[in-house]
């Protein structure tokens, strides 16, 4: 707890976020807790509306003004929840950085890429223009952009999707942040480019000893790229643990459903995909009790009565389900399906 090597870099306790939507107030995140040490990687998986991006945005302090944040977010022991915006501006792009899903919208089309990569350096490190430019070229070189010295004055539209994502990675890394949040960094990219970008992120995380939170809807991307993972559904964490343990055991019916619903290579035409009945619930009208109860094949009355607690099912592996005895016995398919 006391030594800096073992103290968590970021510690989130009982985070809750309420957003005002057109359909009334919605509890987008409920009771999310996790801690991340320096150099550790965490994956967040879930479908749209599960609260994974809202969790990331609350770490970045980028939620709309009307959002109500409860609980605590600590970076190196300092509280971030409720921090004034001016203080947050000193952290963003400096100690916490983010890579977004859409590399085109994340870059400003009116500025050269060199200007955009240099901006955090000028702002946080107070580099001179010439110094920042030199540094920007070095960063662009590190992320594998060909011929950076010549292309530093080019505009975003002159690059391909994969190259643009390399540029946003260079921006995020400019000030050597402690925590990198990557929100679906490869979803907009081709599968071969996805591999290259994930390789690059993995190299940089290792090289600079950063912590990383990787958000993805793709179980495959999560399986190969993070040490620990959390599965989110309806604003709560339904399963968390070391990635290997979660894939080996798959305790929550939702995780199992998500895994079975993926079309897999080698499943021939004529085989049917096992779907999860129903649709993702609206955050504005979540069911009471377990958020997955409406779609869960194992739901009983007790599931609808109260939000289940996290149950310990293995080393560091927790499942928010009161029917793990049935779900984990029934889950003969996790590895063989």
């Amino acid at each position: 707890m006391t030594s800096p090597a073992t103290a968590p870099l970021i510690e989130v306790a009982n985070l809750g976020v309420r957003l005002n939507t057109s359909r009334g107030p919605a509890q987008a995140v409920r009771g999310v807790s996790f801690a991340l040490k320096r150099g550790e990687t965490l994956g967040l998986v879930g479908e749209s509306g599960c609260g994974k991006s809202v969790t990331a945005m609350s770490l970045m302090g980028l939620l709309p003004d009307s959002a109500v944040v409860t609980g605590s977010i600590k970076l190196d022991g300092g509280e971030l929840a409720g921090l004034p915006d001016a203080d947050y501006c000193r952290l963003r792009g400096n100690r916490i950085s983010m890579i977004f899903q859409e590399p085109m919208t994340a870059l400003n089309p009116m500025h050269t890429i060199g200007h955009q990569v240099a901006e955090p350096l000028r702002r946080h490190r107070k580099h001179s223009a010439a110094q920042a430019r030199k540094e920007a070229i070095a960063l662009l070189d590190r992320v594998g952009l060909p011929d950076p010295a010549r292309r530093v004055d080019a505009y975003p539209h002159q690059f391909s999707g994969g190259q643009r994502q390399r540029i946003t990675i260079a921006m995020a890394l400019a000030c050597e942040p402690d925590l990198l949040i990557a929100d679906e960094p490869t979803t907009a990219l081709d599968v071969t480019i996805q591999g290259q970008i994930l390789d690059l992120i993995a190299d940089l995380v290792e090289e600079r000893g950063m912590s990383m939170i990787l958000i993805s809807h793709d179980l495959g991307v999560i399986a190969e790229n993070v040490q620990r993972m959390m599965v989110m559904y309806g604003g709560t964490v339904v399963e968390s643990g070391p990635t290997d343990e979660v894939f080996r055991r798959m305790g929550h019916p939702y995780t199992q459903g998500l895994f079975r619903a993926r079309p897999k290579l080698g499943a021939r035409k004529g085989t049917r995909l096992k779907t999860i009945a129903g649709t993702v619930p609206e955050l504005a009208d979540l069911p009471s009790g377990c958020t997955f109860s409406e779609r869960c094949p194992l739901a009983i009355d007790a599931c609808r009565a109260a939000l289940p607690p996290m149950v310990d099912v293995g080393p560091g592996h927790f499942v928010r389900c009161i029917r793990t005895d049935v779900s984990m016995a029934a889950n003969v398919g996790a590895l063989s399906a």
Partner: protein
């Protein structure tokens, strides 16, 4: 005995002129399609996979007669679509319909579901939409929606339901062929499975053919009888999914397969080598994949490999196809 194919595409070329950069030189060209030929039999499905820029969406647009190809033929039910008069073509469109990628952009937000779904009929049969309500209700039920949904607007539906509406709109003219361009890539995993199952059910029920364009190999594997892999406007490998995915004969197919992340315990990262991106505009003498190919030889740089038979119903455009097939295959997901 050979059955005439439903769709017969021959030597399709599509080029786009780039903006003129110099007064003294002719403008550059993008060669979006380079001699693509495929056939689709009635009731069968063809999957097209490839990266962005491989020409798969251009192929869809040309097959749908939304664009006139630079050269080549598209024959549907024995008629050359590019030779039809405008009004004949409009009537012929009854037989081929399209489902688009973005279920948010492809439905008019100001129209009710009944009007959206009946629109192909009003264009084809010219009568009032009101008389089509029964047919709309029938087709909505086929895609798993209710009659009560007819008078709602698109914003009242989720992404998966909207894609069902888009499928209903394509189905209402009772087409023989549906071209679906990335129909599930905008959907969540659990909803994606529902839509894929629906597409399979409809195919069994109506004997439809699909041309399914996707970057996701597993989706194509699930729904298609035959798969064509495209690279820079050419088909580089074609065959049954099991041929392609278990005995792939082109290094590009192999690269695509290896790049798919596997969801399983102990999934460690396999390093991928850096790959150069080839240009679509330059016409080179050799194999277009040569810059990225780990097996390239001198011969590959000099001669363009033709699409040739490497197995029963299995074609590949690679000089070294046998060497590729002899490599240990990328592990399948169990």
């Amino acid at each position: 005995m050979s059955i005439a194919p439903l769709l017969d595409v021959r030597d399709l070329d599509q080029r786009y002129a780039l903006p003129r950069e110099s007064l003294f030189r002719p403008p550059g060209q993008v060669r979006a399609l380079n001699g693509v030929s495929v056939q689709v039999l009635a009731g069968k499905s063809l999957g097209i996979v490839g990266e962005s820029g491989s020409g798969k969406s251009t192929f869809a647009r040309v097959v749908m007669a939304l664009e006139r190809p630079t050269s080549g033929q598209v024959q549907l039910l024995g008629r050359d679509l590019n030779r039809l008069q405008a009004d004949e073509l409009r009537r012929a469109r009854r037989d081929f319909q399209m489902v688009f990628q973005d279920p948010y952009g492809s439905l008019d937000p100001r129209q009710t579901i009944a009007r959206i779904v009946a629109e192909p009929l009003t264009v084809l049969e010219g009568a009032d939409r009101a008389t089509f309500r029964e047919r709309v209700s029938a087709v909505l039920r086929q895609v798993g929606l209710r009659d009560a949904d007819m008078d709602k607007y698109p914003h009242e539906f989720s992404g998966g339901q909207r894609q069902r509406i888009a499928i209903a709109r394509a189905l209402i003219t009772q087409p023989k062929l549906i071209v679906a361009d990335e129909p599930v890539s905008a959907l969540d995993v659990s909803v994606q499975a529902q839509v894929l199952n629906l597409m399979q059910d409809l195919q069994e029920q109506f004997g439809l053919s699909y041309i399914l364009i996707s970057h996701d190999l597993a989706v194509v594997d699930y729904l298609c009888d035959e798969v064509a892999v495209m690279y820079l406007g050419r088909i580089v490998e074609q065959g049954r999914p099991e041929d392609l995915f278990e005995r792939c004969a082109h290094p590009y197919t192999r690269a695509l397969l290896e790049a798919v992340p596997r969801a399983r315990a102990g999934g460690t990262r396999r390093r991928r080598g850096g790959q150069a991106i080839a240009s679509q505009s330059a016409a080179t003498a050799g194999c277009p994949y040569v810059a990225r190919c780990p097996l390239a030889e001198q011969h590959c740089r000099e001669a363009l490999p033709a699409l040739r038979k490497v197995g029963e119903g299995h074609l590949a455009a690679c000089h070294r196809a046998e060497a590729v097939m002899a490599l240990p295959q990328a592990a399948m997901e169990g």
